[in-house]
């Protein structure tokens, strides 16, 4: 089991708030691991990263599978989906992730349900202010 403390972030309306995040490593094909802090979002269908992070991984972003996502506010984000390798704690897995088409899209980098929530039981522990990943499948 790997647990990550929630992150303190400032907001103009509610002051400091705590958000569930994780430190993961990502790589594409034979590239090197790149370490990034991401939100853990059980409401997201798939993991999403900004365009420039995909470039850093060595992706040719527009070679992926095109997908358009809608959010709560009705805005849309155009992306391309690629299979990347993720490391969470000691666990390594293949996962689909969407990378923004537009370099100017400032979406939060996050891990969503596809590929990840199938493999880990993810516990949002409000009392302890941490999120724990428990490997529940060998897929």
């Amino acid at each position: 089991m790997k647990c990550f403390s929630w992150k303190i972030e400032g907001s103009d309306t509610l002051g400091n708030i705590l958000r569930p995040v994780a430190e993961i490593a990502v790589k594409y094909v034979e590239g090197n691991w790149k370490y990034i802090s991401v939100y853990v979002d059980s409401g997201a269908d798939i993991s999403v990263f900004q365009h420039s992070f995909g470039e850093l991984l060595g992706l040719n972003i527009e070679e992926g599978r095109y997908a358009k996502f809608g959010g709560v506010g009705g805005g849309e984000v155009e992306t391309y989906i690629h299979e990347v390798t993720l490391k969470v704690g000691d666990d390594i897995l293949k996962a689909d992730a969407a990378f923004c088409k537009n370099p100017a899209d400032r979406v939060p980098n996050l891990i969503g349900r596809r590929s990840i929530f199938d493999i880990f039981e993810i516990r949002f522990k409000n009392i302890d202010k941490e999120t724990c990943f428990v490997r529940s499948s060998t897929e």
Partner: protein, 80 residues
């Protein structure tokens, strides 16, 4: 005397905890920018991930940085 060297994972974990506690301070200077952290210090800043990463590697060529995108001070509702 025994010198203890941190593993990469241990150091990244420490940097993650540091980021988790210090983001409100970073939001004062780096909203909507990428930062790269090594040994609990911001060693690279950029408008995109590559800029921040490359600056960090110039400063600390032997260490992998932990990257983060510093959010605006607004509420988030994340459902994609």
């Amino acid at each position: 005397m025994v010198l203890q060297t941190k593993t990469l994972e241990e150091r990244i974990n420490e940097d993650f905890l540091w980021l988790s506690k210090n983001t409100p301070k970073l939001q004062e200077s780096f909203q909507e920018r990428w930062v790269a952290v090594v040994d609990k210090k911001v060693v690279g800043v950029g408008d995109d991930a590559k800029q921040a990463y490359n600056k960090a590697k110039e400063t600390c060529p032997d260490k992998e940085p932990l990257l983060d995108f510093i959010p605006k001070k607004e509420l988030l509702v994340l459902i994609l």
